[in-house]
Symmetry: C2
Subunit: 104 residues, 2 copies
Amino acid sequence: MRQLPQPSTADLDLVRVLSALADPVRLELVRSLAGVREPLSCNVDRFDVEVTAATLSHHWKVLRDSGITTTFASGRNRLVELRRADLEARFPGLLGAVLADSAR
Amino acid sequence: MRQLPQPSTADLDLVRVLSALADPVRLELVRSLAGVREPLSCNVDRFDVEVTAATLSHHWKVLRDSGITTTFASGRNRLVELRRADLEARFPGLLGAVLADSAR
């Protein structure tokens, strides 16, 4: 498994993170990832979102580029996980506040 | 002084609030408002942002429409204040997490 390129924790940018979170599909993906402790497959049928595979792939890229998720690749498989600790280190309380609302 | 139309606290939407915050100029305006206890004049020379008056006016509208600020109008004067309590009631911890980073 190799890790796809992503910004370092120190390089996480608040505006980019907020922009990435400011989308109902991406919020749902983040909520799904927050509910598990292991990386999840990126397959569209795993998530409760009504988008095409191409659109979902775009959303995963936005989340990775902003530093919200890490993506691992193995051949054609992709696993993704939330950068919980990195986000908490850089923006304490932000992810929790966002997830608290998503859980309503 | 009349209050310009704004969403009720119950109608505040996380995606709209995150979108409104996901802009460097609007983050700076929110940070400025967070530093005071009284409504501030909307005049461009009051804020440390390099935008035209028309652009600033647009940013104020985005902040108001998303429910982050209240705008009061009196003739041609506009005063704006942060909806601190409303935001905290609807999204506990969110504003604090965002402002903590802006203050770095």
